[in-house]
Amino acid sequence: MKKLKVIEDFNFTTGPRYIREGANSGEEFRINVLYPKVKEAITNKCVLEIDLDGAAGYGTSFLEEAFGGLIRENNLSYNAINSHIKIISTEEEYLIEDIDEYMKDAQNEKDKSN
């Protein structure tokens, strides 16, 4: 199992949605950290454990852009991502469900537009 810990692989303070809106954005996290690791996990057919604990906190836009963006911008499917990631969030358990919904919504939007 591969591991991604936000505070070690990205930053302690997460930022807004887009790079143009401020430092440590969800877009930056997706492009530089999340997408390469998720893609690697899908290619190698293993599970990536994403640990959200220990960070200062998360704005909803950051998480939506990072995880929903994998479907919108990086053309991954909900099923492919869902079967290759495991999210750890003991400090804010509700984030696991929120992230799942962000990805489902992004997939639905994508299906509608196709």
Partner: protein, 375 residues
């Protein structure tokens, strides 16, 4: 005869001596005035003026105000209870008049002399406007409150430090009040800075407050994206944190257009286009106070997108309250006032151009221990 002559000569000598002394005195005064003038260049008179100094020095001249030899287009008197939470209508009316002077570039004397009760929420509101006066080079002055407690509170708030940004008003880092002015970006480090300030005082060590962090990120992002109807990143936000009675009180403010004006101006194609009208049709709400309640409950998001709000925006802030991550949430935007904990929603007689949020962090709220800090 000789005595008389002597007396006359002596009187003359005295007269000359008196004249010389008078001249010397005048010279001394003018030098002092020059020095005072020099001082005003580096140290604004706003803070030097004290209560006694203010009385009997104002008169109206052709519709203008002459105060301490200076002429102003307008003089605005702050309400005696200068607190947005305790006296929202009077404070908003005062702030709106100040805003109008700013818009019309009217030089203004801000009279705080009769203020008997002052809160940090109103101080940061006033500060945000006075900084705009300063940045636009519009002449302004003011008087400090006559009330001793209020005067000390204003001084210790850091108001003058942030207004003049000079070394003459150093910020006391150990003070229990902290004001943060933003740039135009959403910055997590600035959010964490105020959380550290608050948790160090409440728990005597740094803690993670995920609720406060999330709220700050949402608010900064909203200011960037929605505070203006025509341009992203147009408005600044202001944040004040004050520690007192074992709790940290947060006041966040942006002089944007406010939530309802922003919603009314959503363009065709936006997911919130006509959202307010639809909300009113479905829930039969009659005013913005009722609309604000529906927005906080996530109804606006649900009717506009047919999806759950998933912690986003204002409903997400109410979630942090319901999850005990923060306490005592208040929202004031346009003509709506919400005391969320007490389920008190009311329509104000005046409208605030912008959005104001107040909440508290107390020892009873959920926080987490810091594990590692990468930078």
């Amino acid at each position: 005869m000789l005595d008389l002559k002597k007396r006359i000569l002596r009187n003359k000598a005295f007269k000359i001596l008196r004249r010389r002394r008078k001249k010397k005195k005048l010279n001394k005064k003018s030098t002092k005035k020059c020095l005072e003038f020099k001082r005003t260049v580096t140290c604004p008179r706003y803070i030097k003026r004290n209560a006694e100094f203010k009385s009997n020095i104002q008169k109206i001249k052709k519709g203008r105000f002459v105060i301490d030899g200076q002429t102003y287009d307008n003089k605005l008197t702050a309400p005696p209870v200068f607190s947005l939470l305790k006296n929202p209508e009077a404070v908003i009316t005062f702030i709106n008049m100040l805003n109008s002077n700013l818009k019309n570039r009217k030089s203004t004397f801000v009279d705080l002399f009769n203020v008997k009760f002052i809160e940090h929420d109103a101080i940061v509101l006033l500060l945000a406007l006075m900084v705009l006066f300063k940045n636009k080079n519009i002449k302004f002055e003011g008087s400090k409150p006559n009330d001793n407690e209020c005067r000390i509170k204003l001084q210790e708030s850091g108001f003058f430090h942030y207004l003049y940004k000079g070394h003459s008003f150093p910020f006391n880092k150990s003070a229990d009040n902290f004001i943060r002015e933003s740039g135009k970006l959403t910055e997590g480090e600035k959010a964490q800075e105020v959380i550290d300030f608050a948790t160090e005082r409440i728990w005597k060590q740094r803690k993670l407050s995920k609720g406060v962090y999330k709220i700050l990120m949402e608010l900064m992002q909203n200011t960037h994206s929605h505070a203006s109807t025509d341009e992203e990143g147009k408005h600044h936000w202001w944040l004040n944190v004050n520690y007192m009675n074992d709790k940290a009180c947060f006041s966040f403010f942006d002089y944007g257009v406010g939530i309802f004006t922003s919603l009314k101006n959503k363009k065709n194609g936006s997911k919130f286009y006509n959202a307010l009208d639809n909300l009113q049709k479905i829930f039969k709400s009659e005013n913005n106070a009722e609309n604000l309640k529906l927005i906080l409950e996530g109804k606006l998001h649900k009717t506009s997108t047919n999806k759950s709000y998933r912690g986003k925006g204002l409903p997400g802030m109410k979630d942090t309250l319901d999850r005990n991550l923060i306490s005592n949430l208040h929202v004031i935007t346009n003509d709506s006032y919400a005391n969320v904990v007490n389920n008190e929603y009311r329509t104000l007689k005046c409208s605030l151009k912008g959005t104001f949020l107040y909440w508290e962090l107390t020892i009873n709220n959920i926080v987490h221990d810091e594990k590692i800090k990468s930078n």
